[in-house]
Symmetry: C2
Subunit: 443 residues, 2 copies
């Protein structure tokens, strides 16, 4: 195989064969295809895209580069949920125990926050003692025992994705839909799932803000999942404002726990239940959406979901007392409130701006090497669209020190003013459902 010829063909818009993709990625993983050839190929993919069969072959080959989450003896239907990332999105913390409490196996591999978006691992690790660095065998044993395990991506899972992502990050080739799809789906397929629900965010805080392009990504993700033998459904959901009140790691755990008690803000519950219903439907745990939502609500009301979360925390070394005494979670010493600048309907706040404030406060990462302060963050008190009065507190800042508070106050006051000026109508929380019958092109 002459790699330069393959690159030329892709540059000219021709498709490579599944065998070529498999060989190429194997050689790349082994170091026999140098980074510069892969960089040129990645850039050609940014322009030419991948045919459906190429995307499937690439995803498979990436998946093959490492170990898979073992299936074990358990016969339970295995479902995971993956989000393209947002601010205040703690639905995973709710869904994993909730679905497990419904008898669905949830082998969840999550990531860390980067830039303005948060990460499930960071949130979980704000629970004192909680460990996410389980080996895949430990995680599988836990999955068989309690039906859920919440871990980080280990070095052994899809190593090619790590190598490719590091290269894409420095070669201007991150924003390619087929490359994004292969990256996400290779990791999800490595979980050997029976079903997968994707939460593709739309709006200013989303990785891909435009609804049309987000839809295209959702279709590509679903098609790739189905081609990989995993039943896949995607929901397009709103990320034109943060989800729920809490934004910041420990604050979000607190809100998730409240949610598992049935006490979360309405927007968070709506999205959580919509995603959870899809998971339950895939697993055959309900006949229709309404039935699924009813069952999920019952599972919360019975306390079973919260008890499952307690099981997870205990199993992964965390302090389960945080469930009863949330004050055992890290708290920030400086608390301040920012008020509404005017009377009126509370506008959607730009999640990117809020994400930047959280980074400023120390609760997020600019680069992957940054450490995060679990205690800091923001609470956005009213829901978008709700009537507020000028002077009423609308954002609560949780800061490490006075300097952080001051800076956050300034930026947030400005953002509130601009949000009022923009006066945008909030997006519907669940915008659209995408299944395999929608056609998603490979480009």
């Amino acid at each position: 195989m002459v790699v330069a010829r393959l690159i030329e063909r892709k540059r000219n818009g021709d498709a490579l064969t599944p065998d070529e993709w498999r060989t190429l990625l194997r050689l790349y993983t082994e170091g026999a295809v140098p980074e510069y050839q892969m960089a040129a190929l990645l850039m050609a993919i940014c322009f030419r895209g991948l045919e459906r069969h190429e995307l499937t072959a690439m995803t498979d080959a990436m998946c093959d580069s490492g170990i898979r989450w073992p299936r074990g003896a358990g016969s339970r239907f295995r479902v995971d949920k993956h989000s393209t990332g947002g601010v205040g999105d703690k639905t995973s913390l709710l869904l994993a125990p909730l679905l497990a409490a419904c008898g669905v196996a949830v082998p969840m591999m999550s990531g860390r926050g980067l830039g303005h978006t948060g990460g499930t691992l960071d949130k979980l690790e704000s629970i004192p003692g909680f460990r996410t660095d389980l080996s895949i065998d430990t995680a599988q044993a836990q999955l068989e025992r309690i039906g859920v395990a919440l871990i980080g991506q280990t070095e052994e899972i899809v190593p090619t994705d790590r190598k490719l992502y590091a290269l894409r990050d420095v070669t201007g080739t991150v924003e390619s839909m087929p490359l994004i799809t292969a990256s996400i789906m290779s990791k999800k397929l490595a979980e050997q799932l029976d079903g997968l629900v994707l939460d593709v965010k739309v709006g200013s805080g989303a990785f891909i803000p435009e609804p049309e392009r987000a839809l295209e990504l959702a279709q590509m993700l679903v098609a790739t999942g189905e081609a990989g033998g995993c039943r896949t459904v995607a929901l397009l959901t709103a990320m034109d404002r943060p989800l729920g009140r809490a934004c910041g790691n420990a604050l979000e755990v607190r809100e998730a726990v409240a949610g598992l008690r049935g006490e979360a803000p309405g927007d968070l519950m709506e999205v959580t239940l919509a995603l959870g219903a899809e998971m339950l439907l895939l697993a055959g745990g309900a006949d229709d959406q309404e039935g699924a939502i009813r069952r999920l609500r019952r599972t919360i009301a019975s306390g079973a979901a919260l008890e499952k979360f307690r099981d997870v925390i205990v199993a992964q070394g965390g302090d389960p007392a945080v469930l009863d005494e949330p004050s055992r979670l890290p708290t920030a010493p400086v608390i301040a409130e920012v008020t509404a600048p005017h009377d009126g309907r509370f506008p959607p706040l730009d999640p990117r701006r809020l994400g930047e404030v959280i980074i400023m406060l120390g609760g997020g990462r600019r680069v992957a090497e940054d450490t995060v302060d679990p205690a800091v963050g923001l609470e956005v008190l009213p829901r978008a669209g709700q009537r507020v009065r000028g002077g009423e507190p609308v954002i609560r800042i949780h800061a490490r020190d006075e300097a952080g508070r001051k800076e956050a106050e300034m930026v947030l006051a400005r953002e509130l003013e601009s949000a009022w000026r923009r006066g945008a109508e909030p997006l519907p929380l669940v915008i659209r459902r995408v299944t395999a019958t929608d056609d998603g092109g490979g480009r």
Copy 2:
């Protein structure tokens, strides 16, 4: 400077600033920008092209990466000729001494043959003793003394081009017009020329066969030359068949020497004089094209051009006796003739096919590391369009051995049959003249 951001901007179709190009190429040359980032950028250039000002900045920056051919004290107008490469094209061997004999300084840096195209250095080195590896200072001293020096590109001239070319070769990014332009023109501008004449080949044997794209390349080359302060003219000339009779290194020297005596085939003389007239006009050595051609013809007829070639051969360590006794040039032991398959007008023979036969005979290079046999080659006896009779010898093979002869005979007999079947009309030898007033876009 964050290189990934520059790559992204180029990927999105934005132009980089001249300063960004300069810094980027400097850092790349120093090794501070890794090959993989440059590979991604090169691929983005393949899709997005370069704006005129970017191409100028990139060419300048490449030129700046090494030393330039010194100007010295000589006040003579400096002109070079560069061809995009063909088969049987020995015009440089004629033009360098011819123009020098007219009082024009010709600092000529040439390359070696690769693939089906020949190279001036290989041809010169078939003259026993002839050295092309002169230092730039020795070359400049010779230029001042006799008005012409014929050398290879030294390591010190445009090192960035070497590094970039090696990368392009393995990343599928060779065929980009702005990258081709920057590569050619950075080396030509490093000669610190006053004028440059480009021979852009058109037709099946050309690097870019299509007339429209060859024109585009010519316009881009001319614009870049002019932007670099060098008066530049291009001729589009025919490479739908070999130029002249001789194809192969020593055979071509022999034909060039015949040309300097006024005895070369008509097609070779027509192209040589057309290019030479442009060179002479740039140097102010004639008032118009007709006057220029008359002067060139006189310079040949007087023997001054041949004597200048003798001076060059002596100065560069070669055996000048080859001029009087061409049999002192390397000769091949096995000679054979292939005959016309039919009566009729002799069709244009595909230069790529002939070039491949020359490689088969050992006279060309598949890869840069191959050595060439100077003696072998082909003579195409009739000119395209000339009437021939079936059975009449039309190609003479000069082979190292019987095996080579046989293989060449077989391929050539097939090519003659297909050429007869194609029955194409030969292109006009000089198709078009391109000057700075033609607009050449940067894409």
